[in-house]
């Protein structure tokens, strides 16, 4: 299939047409949305099949003039990193949409599905855009649908949460826009300017050290808010707590990844000197995120907030893995992004399922659910164990590689891997504390009378959970094929970044 990447952008947009046509028919709207996201999922698997594993560069490239006056191009392509993040996105979107047909979304289902399809365009586009301008458009395209999803279908404090989410994100990304325009102007003389990433990588010698310092800051702020890194994380718990389940799944599963992906794809290779300059701060913030996220998770009383804060800690591992700037760390970071997508997506799904049944999210109000819901307990247990990094499940391998990379980290000045490594490892232990303790309080003990009659997982919920469970086990047992896809591309990025610091600057 030619133009499979363009197809990935067109399918959800095309799905909007029948969706709008049958807008008032709830059943038809659900069918259209599920079918569209399923086709999109299949298309992304076709893309994965067409990808040649083991090659480092961009594949399946597409390029067309878009804004010829500016030399801005519609340029798409995937490498070993994005080729995995795209199917993750389409799978999580499909599951979110499928789950939402089951009654979690009670009103305005047509608007909900339309927002989700638009959101999918943005999410997929972010991972396959190779032109910075196009990337920015997709990056922002995710914003408005998510704003509506939280704000219309969210919890009681949804308006506050969604405005906070949008203002934080927009604050970062608008500064990045200034950075992008600055990169454009620095990329060449009038007439020869570009924002195409492959082209920019050959010209990064034009970016002076001072320029890289500031532009890295502009890009870094946008990505750090999106991730989110401490201290820019305060929007995340609010947004997650108020978001509907499907919104939480893609927010944690996909949107946060856009930040980590942005660092790895754009900020590190384009501004290697800027990266070096900010490295101490970034490493420090990553480790703080790991420890702070974990400690705060321990004391959470709200189940959803606990999972949200655990995301902060998990994202800390991603940034740590990226900024130790070695192969193990980078591969670990990408794996961690994938695994966090599947596992935390699943955790939010199960918290949502539980909430739909009991209408309680306070851990103290729950308890003994294992007695009533054996199937739920089995699934939820596996995901909790994967999230705390049990060997044999997928969470382990990413965190292990990141820690390995951290111990090997050896900067010119300042504390090295032997200082940061053990600190980060404490975060892994704390993860076991807060997750197992939560599991114990929620699932064991005596079941309340009020919950006794509540049903276990419905077939629809099982269908939603099974793919995530399979991937959790599969990636935990056989990570090698995936690592083989990721590693060459990560090495390539790190090589570009290393070469960039050697260039004698004009």
């Amino acid at each position: 299939m030619d133009h499979v990447l363009t197809l990935l952008i067109v399918i959800p947009l095309a799905g909007l047409i029948p969706l709008v046509a049958f807008f008032r028919d709830t059943r038809a709207v659900k069918q259209v949305a599920v079918t569209t996201t399923l086709i999109e999922l299949v298309a992304s698997l076709v893309m994965l099949a067409q990808f040649h594993s083991g090659e480092a560069g961009f594949q399946l490239r597409e390029s067309a003039a878009w804004l010829p006056t500016f030399g801005i191009r519609y340029e798409l392509g995937v490498d070993g990193i994005s080729v995995l993040l795209v199917p993750m996105t389409t799978l999580l979107t499909f599951i979110s949409v499928l789950y939402s047909t089951g009654g979690a979304i009670k009103e305005r289902i047509g608007e909900f599905m339309a927002a989700f399809l638009l959101l999918e365009v943005g999410m997929v586009g972010v991972f396959i855009a190779l032109d910075l301008f196009l990337f920015y458009v997709f990056f922002e395209l995710m914003l408005v649908p998510m704003y509506l999803i939280i704000g219309i279908w969210g919890g009681p404090r949804r308006v506050y949460a969604t405005l906070k989410f949008v203002l934080f994100t927009l604050g970062g990304s608008l500064l990045m826009l200034v950075g992008i325009v600055a990169v454009y102007l620095a990329s060449g003389d009038a007439g020869g300017r570009t924002l195409s990433l492959p082209e920019l990588l050959t010209r990064s010698g034009r970016f002076s050290a001072d320029f890289q310092f500031w532009v890295f800051l502009a890009f870094g702020l946008a990505f750090a808010i999106k991730m989110p890194m401490v201290p820019f994380h305060t929007w995340l718990p609010d947004a997650h707590v108020e978001a509907p389940t499907a919104g939480s799944i893609v927010l944690a599963g996909v949107l946060l990844k856009a930040g980590g992906y942005g660092f790895l794809r754009f900020a590190v290779p384009l501004f290697p000197i800027g990266t070096q300059a900010w490295l101490p701060v970034l490493i420090l913030l990553s480790v703080v995120a790991i420890l702070y996220g974990a400690v705060v998770s321990v004391v959470q009383k709200d189940l959803k907030k606990l999972v949200a804060y655990s995301s902060v800690a998990h994202m800390g591992f991603v940034t740590l893995g990226i900024f130790v700037l070695n192969q193990q760390g980078g591969v670990g970071a990408v794996l961690q992004m994938l695994n966090h997508g599947f596992v935390t997506g699943a955790l939010f799904l199960f918290v949502g399922i539980q909430y739909e049944k009991t209408h309680r999210r306070q851990i103290a109000d729950l308890g003994g659910l294992a007695n009533g819901w054996p199937l739920y307990t089995a699934f939820f247990g596996v995901f909790v164990l994967a999230s705390l990094g049990l060997p044999g499940l997928n969470g382990f391998i990413g965190e292990f590689l990141v820690l390995l990379g951290t111990f090997k980290f050896n900067p010119v000045g300042g504390p090295g891997g032997l200082f940061w490594g053990p600190l980060a490892a404490i975060g892994v232990i704390l993860a076991a504390v807060y997750l197992l303790w939560m599991f114990q309080r929620v699932m064991y003990g005596t079941l309340r009378e009020a919950y006794r009659a509540l049903p276990d997982l419905s077939p629809l919920e099982v269908v939603c959970a099974v793919p995530l469970l399979v991937l959790t086990v599969l990636l935990g047992v056989f990570p090698q094929p995936v690592i083989a896809i990721i590693a060459p591309s990560v090495e390539r990025i790190l090589a570009i970044a290393a070469a960039g610091t050697q260039v004698v600057l004009k």
Partner: protein
């Protein structure tokens, strides 16, 4: 003066003739026929005017050097006509409900449009001033057209007094320029000033007077005080027109005067313009944050947009890209701001009052298409892709950074976040709150919805594929490069 002179201003002549025809038809036709045929006549005349002139043209002068027809003039010509068509489409239902005489309304809009077109054609201070007065005097009338509404009266009077005051300042500045250079043509003034520079006090006085006069017309902070009351009190379709066409014309005048004739002093005025731009966007946005009335909020936000556009003027050193950015932004602003004000027409409120935020609660359920259009305009005004407002901001940022005004670019970015807060709050009320007992009645508005639908589509379509319009703006901006 020959026949060929008249051919060059054929579109202006067609619009003038249409205005006269409308007044005649209004007198002849009975009420029912007028309701249908007047808007048709106006739109037909305006469309004919668009196609009676070229879209791009090699620069040439007419009427003995008083008028210059270049792509700059044709760009604005088309823009003003499009804005007038848009106003005509959104107005009828409102005018009928409020019993505002429709024929007079359309004719006034058309006369104002001719004035705006004349400003873009000006090659001479006198033509410019005539155009300016021809544009603003009808707008004073428009603002006060709801005769029995005291807010409308206040709007008309306030706009008139401050407009007359600023015209006097501007005219006085023009007189100084004439005294300095001995000519009223832009090129002549540029030559005279280019050789002298800012060496004497007289030039400084002229520069200051002209800057302040134009700043009043464009509603630059701190010369903006007339704007909120005038916009808030005027009948809403008039506000929609007032907020865009005179502003676009003011920027046409700023480019013609500041770059076309005072360009040699650019280094002296551009720093002032950069500071004014920063104050204007910040001031407009900060005050807009505090507004509970959407019409008033949009009035303040139009001031903020003046600041963004002014930033493009301040970056004149970046060459044609700066002027092209100004033109593109004015174009984008025209569509999205007119659209945003027009969305308020749905709400059938007493007087000329605009809706409060609470009155928009649940609007998305009551008028899904109207709410969607409103949301698109608001997202575009915020500057979020894929809309025309986003690309317009990018096009402004590029010359601003190119001219080395990094601080101003950062101020623009931070202001966009401020703006996001109040624009998106409207979306919150439309989509996230349910309608309550005191929700206002809605007008039956099929024509309005159709007009807004087309404008909303254009906002997104040009936002995705802006290259054609930008290239046109770039051609139009070609003369505005200071050598």
């Amino acid at each position: 003066m020959s026949l060929s002179d008249f051919v060059t201003v054929l579109p202006e002549a067609v619009v003038t003739a249409t205005a006269c025809l409308v007044l005649l038809a209004d007198a002849v036709l009975d009420r029912k026929a007028a309701r249908i045929w007047l808007p048709v006549l106006v739109v037909a005349g305006l469309v004919a005017a668009i196609f009676s002139g070229p879209f791009t043209v090699a620069s040439h002068t007419a009427f003995g050097g008083f008028v210059v027809v270049d792509t700059f003039a044709t760009f604005f010509r088309v823009l003003f006509i499009v804005l007038a068509i848009f106003t005509t489409v959104v107005a009828p239902e409102y005018l009928e409900r409020r019993q505002i005489p429709a024929g007079e309304f359309y004719a006034t809009v058309l006369f104002s449009t001719v004035g705006a077109m004349t400003i873009a054609l000006a090659a001479d201070l006198i033509t410019l001033f005539i155009g300016l007065e021809l544009m603003t005097i009808p707008v004073y009338v428009l603002a006060g057209m709801a005769r029995r509404d005291r807010f409308s009266n206040e709007a008309g009077l306030k706009y008139f007094l401050l407009g007359a005051f600023s015209s006097a300042l501007l005219l006085y500045g023009f007189a100084w320029l004439y005294g300095l250079s001995g000519t009223t043509t832009f090129t002549g003034i540029a030559d005279a000033i280019g050789s002298g520079g800012l060496t004497n006090g007289a030039t400084l006085v002229a520069l200051a007077l002209v800057t302040v006069g134009l700043a009043f017309k464009a509603a630059v902070v701190p010369f903006h005080q007339w704007t909120p009351d005038a916009y808030d009190g005027a009948p809403t379709p008039a506000t929609a027109f007032m907020s865009v066409a005179p502003k676009a014309a003011a920027f046409a005048a700023i480019l013609r005067v500041m770059i076309g004739s005072l360009g040699p002093l650019g280094l002296d005025w551009s720093a002032v313009f950069a500071i004014l731009a920063a104050i204007t966007m910040t001031g407009g946005n900060v005050v807009a944050l505090a507004q509970g009335n959407v019409k008033r909020m949009l009035a303040y936000s139009s001031i903020a947009h003046t600041g963004y556009i002014l930033a493009g003027v301040a970056a004149y050193q970046a060459g044609a890209a700066a002027s092209a950015a100004v033109l593109f932004y004015v174009f984008a602003y025209g569509i999205m701001n007119l659209g945003a004000f027009a969305c308020l027409i749905y709400l059938d409120l007493d007087g000329t009052r605009g809706a409060t935020l609470d009155e928009l609660n649940g609007f998305s359920r009551r008028r899904p298409a109207g709410a969607l259009a409103f949301a698109i305009f608001l997202v575009s005004l915020t500057g979020i892709p894929p809309t025309i407002g986003f690309v317009a901001k990018v096009f402004i940022l590029q010359p601003v950074l190119d001219a080395g005004l990094v601080w101003l670019a950062v101020v623009i970015a931070l202001n966009a976040v401020l703006a996001a807060f109040y624009y998106l709050r409207v979306v919150v009320h439309m989509y996230m709150y349910d309608e309550d007992a005191n929700a206002p009645r809605l007008l039956p508005t099929r024509l309005l919805t159709a007009g807004l639908g087309i404008a909303g589509l254009a906002t997104v379509a040009i936002g995705i594929l802006p290259d054609g319009v930008y290239r046109w703006a770039l051609q139009a901006a070609a003369p505005f490069v200071v050598r």
